[in-house]
Symmetry: C2
């Protein structure tokens, strides 16, 4: 079963599901208007999201935190606290815990985040669940529902590298390579999120591309009830990815996950003010034509992502790697 | 390795471990003095904390939330939000998710809590991690470090029932029995926590007895640098437990976990004001004598819990049930 199907069941069972839908939920402050906290929780499961044979405990500590910080970045929230629940087989032992927390601590120190507890239990496989809390920094509301006709669609960096890195690791390649690094050591786009937070003067749509670029485009199109038109040639793709995957890189760019870049839709006047070396225009929001779709123009070719394509191709959370 | 040993490693690696130590961490509000939020995260792992053959998905949903609410209760925090990360084998399917969330929703509705997201991933075993956020309601600080000489040691209900229920379940008994119910359907002591929050007029020590009564007594004694003297005859024990476990019930009362009662230490003047049918005096805080110890008087017998006894007997998080 797909994550979206489970989500439908969950929404049906909850009396109030109004806080569910974006990567983060906003918890308003009851004493100060216009302020409040964002909360997000994400889990990494051994052999589903990572293999201990390809990632070091230190890298895993860093990645586990960054995955959650990326969700805060996508809400223009400034990270403040995390809690960490670690369930592990006793065989991993103290050296694993030490290295994992060294990674956690390095990210927390760099981003001025405090670890506010969590728990530690046994398990027969390693399981990591992190909850991250951040402060609202933008006066405006950010949600994947906010894309509007004529918005510019923007992203913050390379797509496909992480999925390419994963393919290399799965082939047994462990060389020091930018794709493998992208997969094992992703960094949440907190600085760019901060720049955008200051530049915006209106509610806008944003999410991270943790589940893939096409996935994020489709979700924004669907939740905002708009269509999206992308020019594939303008999507940032690394030379390394094209070189190592000359036949398949386009699919990795669109459908590979875990690049943890930001994807947002913003008014042209605001986009003009942004640094074009950090923020890449890849398309625009068009009026829905009957159904909301994502159109990807690739030279003469046109790919359409509609519900059927999305359901079939989107990143599977429930499959083994 | 024991949880406490892992915790020492974690504290060593973190540049700032000041928020670690109690069941909840307090996140101060930077705009309003004396207000703020509490956060806690707890995980339940299949075959470590529960078996799907003995607990229904509905009960598991309720219990997973209550386990976290109990941590908030132990900080006199009023629950506001939870996030839920569920990792499950696809074979469990939609019926499991529906029933689990029905249980979650029933607790949330009763306690006026909103579900603020989380995530859903695959796994080869069921893994549940919940993060709960609550509001500070007491003007005073509550920590297991706050027990003082001459405080009265108080608890809120039966101990040992949950561990007795687990023993029955492990023997294959599934009758409708108060011990089994105590194990499968624990309830966080939010109301009693609220009463105490209003009654207290000073910082005090409190925690829940999720890891056992003796465990909680020892941790308070150790963290507050005091000794504790308990009169076993005054500890609330159910008739059912004595009847079904005539030989072993005392050990279940002291060392069995998951009763999710509150244990607190408070000045005698405050204890006088509390309802004696809801709050049970079981002992008092004495001056440390060389080392901090817990003394349990049982008629003519005297049991001492010191570091060695604690290390040997405390609830093992890392063992299979």
């Amino acid at each position: 079963m797909k994550e979206t199907e489970y989500l439908e069941i969950i929404k049906k069972e909850l009396s109030d599901s109004s806080l569910i839908g974006d990567d983060c939920a906003f918890l308003p402050n009851d004493t100060t208007k216009n302020s409040g906290l964002f909360i997000t929780q994400d889990s990494l499961v051994e052999n589903i999201h990572f293999k201990l044979s390809t990632i070091t405990p230190y890298q895993l500590g860093k990645k586990s935190v960054n995955v959650n910080l990326s969700d805060l970045a996508s809400a223009c929230a400034q990270p403040l606290y995390i809690t960490i629940s670690l369930s592990l087989p006793d065989s991993l032992g103290r050296e694993f815990v030490r290295e994992f927390y060294k990674g956690v601590n390095d990210v927390c120190t760099a981003c001025n985040i405090k670890v506010a507890g969590g728990d530690l239990t046994g398990a027969d496989r390693l399981y990591i669940s992190i909850c991250a809390i951040g402060k609202k920094t933008s006066k405006y509301n950010i949600s994947r529902k906010n894309a509007k006709y004529d918005d510019i669609v923007v992203t913050t960096g390379f797509h496909g590298d992480s999925a390419g890195g994963l393919e290399l690791l799965n082939k047994g390649i462990k060389a020091d390579n930018s794709l493998i690094r992208a997969h094992l050591e992703p960094e949440a786009q907190l600085q760019k999120s901060g720049i955008l937070s200051k530049a915006a003067d209106f509610d806008f749509a944003m999410m991270d591309t943790s589940d893939g670029l096409a996935d994020a485009l489709y979700k924004i199109s669907n939740d905002s009830a708009v269509s999206v038109e992308i020019d594939f040639d303008t999507v940032p793709v690394s030379k390394e990815l094209k070189k190592l995957f000359p036949e398949t890189y386009k699919s990795l760019v669109m459908w590979g996950g875990e690049d943890y870049q930001l994807l947002f839709c913003i008014r042209p006047e605001i986009y003009k003010k942004l640094d074009k070396k950090q923020f890449f225009k890849i398309g625009r929001i068009t009026k829905p034509e009957g159904k909301n779709v994502v159109k990807i123009k690739d030279g003469e070719k046109l790919y359409i992502i509609n519900k059927e394509v999305f359901d079939q191709k989107s990143f599977k959370h429930f499959g083994e790697k």
